[in-house]
Subunit: 336 residues, 2 copies
């Protein structure tokens, strides 16, 4: 680990200026349902309203707009079937660069079509994400800019702009709660928030199935965990062996890291629709789940939850609503 | 009708400054689904991300913050069971004023509780909205500020700030599409857009069940229409006999007014969830319905749709999704 790889607070304020033409400054809205259920003042940071419906556009924009030497014949490349791939495709199209997204033949045609509709070239290879990553690295060696979702200080600084906006809108916030996967979002938000408001607490949330950062913190170093199917699929994937900074930043800057279960995530997704009138994907609903089901003392009285994305399919969403309607009503009535 | 009652463009720019501490500057996001389905470039103005999940907070904020002489013992008053009542309750609480919302005994306890949770006093009277309106007017006579959702130039100017933001974000927009009920939103947005971008077209949309503005324009004067149950319940209610300005403004400034059916509104709500990952109430989905099912020539190539609010209950929402999943898939595939 080398602290020299950490981005500085100024990198986050630079990112805010760099990305403002591409990424939205998102609303921070009151959560009337969660406020009633918890007795705290709860607000939601709506990264679901980014152009691609997820926060990843911030990091991708900071990386792509931060490189002035992108080869017009090679463009930018990513390997991702999810929000990061969409973000890279969107930002590249806006900035006039070619984008190639590498994915395995197992990827659904819906995901491929959606990326093509955003202007990206989709390159299919093999049967696994590892083979897609290998192809992306070979394109990088040919001169393309590989946009890394975890191990690039520009990515971390871009995601950190969420923290700037939260403190700008709500200087009095006690606790900011953030989903944790590879840790770039958590690290960036923690850096921005602790720099501007040192007494504000940072709480990270992962699903209890394959929580790479949680296990790595316990082990004292980045470890690999098995990937298991989860409602919070955006949080899958490890923090990478060659993790340059997010592991250290999370260890130093984050006050608590809590885990939530699949059933708790499903209740949180249902709560978001029924009470908040918001679609939030499983990963983005983990802060709601943590607030509803973990120890309240962790959170304080003024709580901002980062709703990271909305890319949940409608079948999963309606099932979560149908299965948890009565539990949401119970949570609301037991608070009265 | 007296044109002296029209707000001026400067009233809209004044409103933008007045309300910025209470109402959100909302994101204008690409609609990838509608863009694919229509071949046009379609963006959605997310008034669903206002603190109260609907645009009405803009007009309410401009009225309440525009009066410096509110009697602390009387506060502000509204009669509404929907988005306007919530907006008045929210803005009053933020501004430190007492708010009374008058409604009939027929109103569901959920709606009452939700307003009380926002700090409002709920006064129940009689069995109809007319009796609630009468009570509100008697409170006005006692010194409360009645916040009128239609017949106040401050309301119209407040709603018009949506138009300012659309043109600021997307000067090249060809057409702005807006749900129409009493017409204050349509009038305000049209005023702002036509002042800043005279060639941009304005299209209004109402449901074909009880379209008060549409019938009034045909009749050449404000007329009363029967209220019929609709998915677009926020659009119900007339434009009032003593309509001061919205009728005239819509007649002069709006290029087209189209009607959509209940089944088209349901498809539009489903499309919003399935493709855009957004919850939009029936009224707010009418522009999507118009774009999907009316003559394309009306809309041009760069189209902004105002998604006015998200206050749809989850049972209605999931039913719209289940009933229209295959129709949304058909619309998407037939566009390829």
């Amino acid at each position: 680990m080398n602290a020299a790889h950490w981005p500085a607070f100024e990198d986050v304020t630079d990112a805010a200026k760099r990305i403002e033409s591409v990424a939205n400054r998102t609303p921070l809205v009151p959560s009337f349902g969660l406020s009633r259920m918890t007795g705290a003042e709860v607000r939601l940071k709506l990264e679901t309203t980014q152009p691609t419906r997820a926060f990843k556009v911030r990091g991708a924009a900071n990386v792509i707009l931060g490189h002035e030497d992108i080869d017009p014949d090679q463009g930018v490349v990513a390997y991702s079937t999810g929000n990061h791939g969409r973000a890279v495709a969107y930002v590249a199209a806006r900035a006039g660069h070619m984008a190639t997204v590498c994915m395995s033949h197992n990827t659904t045609s819906d995901k491929q079509d959606s990326l093509r509709a955003m202007g990206a070239i989709v390159r299919l290879v093999g049967k696994s994400q590892d083979e897609a990553a290998e192809l992306a690295r070979s394109l990088q060696e040919s001169g393309a800019l590989l946009v890394d979702p975890i191990n690039d200080p520009l990515t971390t600084a871009g995601q950190g702009t969420i923290g700037l906006e939260i403190i700008d809108d709500w200087a009095e916030v006690d606790t900011v709660v953030v989903p944790v996967s590879g840790g770039a979002l958590m690290a960036g938000v923690a850096l921005a928030v602790k720099s501007e408001s040192p007494t504000t607490r940072l709480v990270g949330v992962s699903m209890d199935r394959g929580a790479a950062m949680y296990e790595s913190l316990r082990a004292g170093e980045p470890v690999v965990v098995d990937e298991v199917e989860s409602l919070a699929d955006s949080l899958q994937g490890g923090i990478t062996h060659d993790n340059h900074h997010s592991f250290e930043m999370v260890r130093e800057l984050v006050d608590d890291l809590v885990l939530v279960s699949e059933s708790e995530i499903a209740v949180a997704m249902a709560e978001a629709v029924i009470e908040e009138r918001l679609i939030v994907e499983g990963a983005g609903a983990t802060p709601i789940a943590a607030l509803l089901f973990r120890d309240r003392d962790v959170f304080g009285d003024r709580i901002a939850l980062v709703a990271t994305g909305a890319m949940v399919d409608d079948v999963t969403l309606t099932r979560a609503i149908e299965d948890n309607r009565s539990e949401v009503a119970r949570l609301l009535s037991s608070s009265r």
